[in-house]
């Protein structure tokens, strides 16, 4: 019997190709989206969940309470030492000084030189006790000796090829470091990933310039210091936090408690807490899941509508089967099996589609953080659940309706006359509301992201290229400057710490003139006297800073003047300022964005700090930048023969700041595109079925003299009304959602009425075109054909 049903279902799918394609493609697209969203969210949620007892592991982070609260994931080595020995509730403490960059000479061979950027960590065996790594060779205890290193498999291969890495040496910063172990490459789903692990005790040898306070000062908080503790019981979080407060008071004095607040961040939140450099916002995941559900619901509604409407054509078949002895139950199973088959085909199409588009999606959306399928068994389970839920969700109502039909009515070909009309309209309305909310959101998000990327940040960022040079003597910097300035196409250059608009800028509170310490910090823009010129900043009063003056010189921005409650620029010029050092303010610069546009402009000063000026920013004239870059590389390697040249454009760096918003923009684009497309499929299916039902009426009207336009209008009117009603419902909903979203930006676009109008016109146009495809065809048909039967 089942075989018979399947055969029948298959034939009926094949026979009604048009409806089957509408039905299945709509569902398949929606299921495909569902699968992608499932892959993405489950991948993100799996981050660092594979360690032993992840629920017991916490990261030590801190809040800095000034006028605004600042959050940082870093910690101090002193805190590590204290927690390691001093706590009853802390089972273990582990620290890693990560994101280090070095130049590595393999076996001391200058020709095998690699620049390792941010993928080196200093740590010790405690780290490997707390977190799960797979040691292929050697063991973690050897990392407690100075000048030892463990490499990941890939890194070992990069350095030593197929030879055994253990026992070989690396030369880093003039020091020989012995490879004592090889680790399996870390899984994709971890944020605790480095390629080279150097022993913690090597820091003293490899970074001789590091101050002694780095190890002892409780307040030497560094973003790259990752401090983790594992507790005997997660419930003791608050107790340990209290302990940290007590320790802070002991080490830094009671006054520090006003500013420093140490917290424990659960490992499971680390990937999601954007305050502490999380990678993905939980709300984004929630938004995605909601979008996924909405799309599946839209497609499900379509499916139900199309099945009910389409199956009425099988009215006679239903009646005949009943007469031939088919029971309600048997007919019900027949229709359910048809649904099952349809959904199954949709799932197969969706899976094939997802496999085909996943690389593209990864590239387009999740560049740098691609989605990986972690577990195929879970995926199969997910698909099975989808199959059952969608089959039941979409199959039951039509199957019940059809199988219960009265034989007599069925044979007369009117199983469902207009009965399903009201609910069908409601379903189409719901679909349109969802689609229109998405259209409006898309327009606003696209505008906002474009605004963020293009807004005048108060400085010139076109053709500025940033080249890291590291901590080199001033004489070499001067040499490089001379050589670079001689390159045609180089307009100006500055040794600086970072460009303006960066997500992590140093800052400090200050003492202005004779006043006490201010309650708010000022941001630093660290660079030499050419900084303002290179970035095109405008001086409003006073003069630029000079290099190497006995007393440090500062240039303040307009906001700083405002925050100090000064009436004119003259009041700030020549005044003392104690901040990084003790210096004087020599100029005022027009406001520019030191951080990203997500933040309002902050009080900032431009100052010199030779040690931190480890990059050179070069302003190119624009044309022939390729040749200029090649020349820069040549001069760079001429000056620093043992370095590796690398560069990036400031513009790209700024685009990186808005990655999350970019991703949201792309996602919402796709979501609304898909929602609109599926809704249109639904409209198309419905209108064609309705047209079919009204064939006779259309024929009669034509015989009575109705024009093609009149008949098209007759058929389209209902749908256009629905789209209009949807407009009135979706506009306020979308307005509210977008209003909330925009609140997250210091700089934002205005939500204007025309956006809603555009969305409405778009929705009507799409609906009208879709509906016209069928209604015009119906209106053009020859009435003789439609009136011949019956």
């Amino acid at each position: 019997m089942i075989k018979n049903y399947l055969k029948l279902a298959w034939r009926s799918i094949i026979k009604r190709k048009f409806y089957s394609i509408l039905n299945i493609s709509g569902l398949a697209i929606a299921i495909g989206c569902g699968i992608l969203i499932y892959l993405y969210t489950s991948y993100q949620l799996s981050f660092d969940r594979y360690h032993k007892h992840p629920e017991n592991i916490f990261r030590v982070v801190y809040e800095l309470h000034f006028e605004r609260t600042e959050y940082d994931k870093g910690s101090s080595i002193a805190a590590y030492d204290a927690l390691r020995v001093d706590s009853t509730y802390v089972q273990q403490a582990a620290v890693s000084v990560n994101n280090q960059s070095f130049i590595v000479n393999v076996n001391g061979d200058v020709n095998k030189r690699f620049k390792e950027d941010q993928n080196i960590a200093f740590t010790n065996s405690a780290w490997f006790k707390m977190f799960s790594y797979n040691w292929l060779e050697g063991n973690a205890s050897q990392l407690d000796q100075p000048n030892t290193a463990a490499l990941t498999q890939t890194q070992a291969k990069k350095y030593f090829g197929d030879a055994d890495a253990v026992g070989h040496t690396l030369e880093i910063n003039g020091q020989r470091v012995k490879v004592i172990g090889v680790l399996a490459d870390a899984p994709y789903n971890t944020d605790l990933k480095s390629d080279i692990y150097l022993s913690f005790l090597s820091i003293k040898n490899l970074q001789p310039k590091i101050e002694p306070t780095f190890y002892t000062d409780w307040g030497y908080l560094n973003r790259t210091n990752s401090l983790f503790v594992s507790l005997t019981n997660p419930a003791q979080k608050a107790t340990v936090e209290q302990q940290l407060t007590t320790l802070t008071k002991q080490r830094l004095g009671a006054g520090a408690l006003n500013y420093y607040h140490f917290k424990l961040l659960p490992l499971s939140d680390m990937h999601f807490d954007m305050r502490y450099a999380g990678k993905v916002q939980k709300p984004l995941l929630v938004m995605l899941v909601i979008i996924g559900l909405l799309i599946i619901i839209i497609a499900g509604i379509n499916y139900i509508n199309l099945v009910i409407a389409g199956q009425t054509r099988r009215s006679v078949e239903i009646g005949t089967r009943k007469i031939l002895g088919g029971s309600t139950g048997q007919l019900f199973s027949q229709f359910m099996i048809e649904s099952l088959l349809n959904v199954l085909i949709a799932i197969v199409v969706a899976v094939v589609g997802v496999i085909l588009v996943l690389p593209t999606v990864n590239q387009l959306l999740f560049d740098g953080n691609p989605v990986h399928i972690l577990s195929y068994s879970q995926m199969v389970l997910f698909l099975a659940i989808i199959l059952v839920v969608i089959t039941i969700g979409t199959g039951i109502y039509p199957a019940l309706l059809l199988s219960r039909a009265n034989i007599f009515q069925a044979l007369k070909n009117n199983v469902l006359n207009v009965k399903a009309g009201v609910s069908r309209r409601a379903l189409v309305l719901l679909q349109n509301v969802v689609a229109q909310v998405l259209i409006i959101s898309t327009i606003i998000i696209v505008m906002q992201v474009r605004f963020l990327k293009n807004t005048d940040t108060g400085f010139d960022r076109k053709f500025v290229v940033m080249v890291p040079v590291g901590d080199v003597p001033q004489t070499q910097k001067d040499l490089l400057r001379q050589r670079l300035q001689s390159i045609p196409g180089v307009q100006s250059l500055t040794f600086c710490s970072k460009g303006p608009s960066s997500d992590s800028q140093r800052g400090a509170t200050m003492k202005f003139a004779d006043r006490g310490w201010e309650k708010w910090p000022a941001r630093f823009a660290i660079g030499d006297s050419a900084y303002m010129h290179t970035f095109g900043l405008h001086l409003l009063a006073g003069r630029n800073i000079r290099s190497n003056t006995p007393i440090p010189e500062y240039v303040a921005n307009q906001t700083m003047v405002k925050m100090l409650h000064l009436k004119s620029y003259d009041e700030i010029l020549g005044k003392k300022l104690e901040i990084d050092g003790k210096g004087i303010i020599v100029g005022v610069v027009k406001d520019f964005n030191v951080r990203s546009l997500l933040e309002p402009i902050e009080p900032s000063i431009i100052l010199e700090n030779q040690y931190l000026q480890q990059n050179v920013a070069i302003k190119l004239s624009g044309s022939k930048s390729e040749t200029a870059l090649a020349a820069i590389q040549k001069e760079y390697l001429h000056t620093f023969p043992d370095q590796v040249f690398s560069y990036h454009f400031i513009d790209d760096e700024i685009a990186d700041l808005y990655k999350t918003q970019s991703l949201q923009q792309k996602l919402i684009w796709m979501a609304s595109g898909i929602a609109v497309f599926i809704s249109s499929l639904g409209l198309l299916g419905l209108i064609s079925i309705i047209t079919l039902h009204r064939t006779k009426e259309i024929g009669i009207r034509k015989v009575l003299g109705a024009s093609v336009t009149q008949i098209s209008m007759l058929l389209s009117k209902d749908f256009l009304v629905i789209v209009l009603v949807a407009m009135f419902i979706s506009s306020p909903v979308a307005w509210w959602i977008m209003h909330k979203w925009l609140e997250g930006f210091a700089y934002r676009v205005e939500v204007q009425w025309w956006i809603f109008a555009v969305a409405g016109v778009l929705a009507i146009a799409i609906a009208f075109i879709t509906v016209s495809l069928q209604s015009v065809k119906a209106a053009l048909a020859n009435p003789v054909d439609s009136l011949r039967n019956e």
């Binding site: 019997m1 018979n4 029948l8 034939r11 009926s12 026979k15 006679v316 078949e317 009646g319 005949t320 089967r321 007469i323 031939l324 002895g325 088919g326 029971s327 048997q330 034989i407 007599f408 044979l411």
Partner: protein
């Protein structure tokens, strides 16, 4: 076999009462071939539907194989017609997605008959109607007469005691119609099948053993041929 006593059927729409059948009395014995005739709207199709238990009378008593149909529940009625009545329609009502073979097999599936037995029964039936060569064709590939032949084969496969036919030749040309009527006559004569058909055609009616004329919902005349 079948007995209708004072059967009436009417619809009420507001105060207006539309009568379709009015006080019909009819007895049919096993082995009879009854033709019901009458102009459009005389109620002949409704009468056939009531006999086939697809429709219920508003008033009256209905006995089939000595069972009081008017007292039976829906389920029991269904079981009764499923076992004993075969239907043939003017528009054939074959299932488009099924082949000739599968169309004939469908009632057997609903009667939970085992696969081997189904094969034998369908093969017999194909043989008997000489449509073995057409068994894998779909209805749309057949002529009207051939489709009706399949319709009849399908009705007969479960060996009903009574065959009901609503204008079985209405969609056929006269040659095809004659062939179907000959088949009915043969079934009636040789196998003793009880048949009740509704027809417009005087000529077709003559194939039967009794002709009943309906007019405005009442039996106008009943004569044996």
């Amino acid at each position: 076999m079948l007995s209708l006593k004072n059967i009436s059927k009417y619809y009420k729409a507001g105060n207006l009462k539309t009568s379709i059948l009015n006080n019909i009395n009819l007895d049919v014995d096993a082995g009879e071939f009854v033709s019901i005739m009458g102009p459009s709207g005389s109620g002949k199709s409704t009468l056939l539907n009531i006999i086939g238990m697809l429709d219920e009378p508003t008033d009256g008593y209905h006995y089939f194989l000595n069972q009081p149909i008017h007292q039976l529940k829906e389920k029991q009625r269904q079981a009764l017609y499923k076992e004993n009545i075969g239907f043939v329609f003017q528009a054939y009502h074959l299932i488009d997605e099924l082949t000739v073979y599968e169309n004939i097999e469908t009632p057997l599936l609903y009667h939970n008959i085992k696969s081997d037995e189904r094969k034998a029964l369908v093969a017999d039936m194909l043989d008997r109607f000489q449509i073995v060569g057409k068994k894998d064709l779909f209805p749309s590939q057949l002529s009207g007469g051939q489709q009706q032949l399949v319709g009849i084969a399908r009705a007969l496969i479960v060996s009903p005691k009574l065959l009901l036919a609503d204008e079985p030749t209405g969609n056929l040309n006269s040659k095809q119609g004659d062939e179907i009527m000959e088949l009915f006559k043969k079934l009636n004569k040789e196998e003793g099948m009880t048949i009740i058909q509704v027809t417009h055609s005087e000529k077709n009616a003559e194939y039967g053993s009794r002709i009943i004329n309906l007019l405005d919902g009442t039996v106008e005349s009943s004569k044996n041929v």
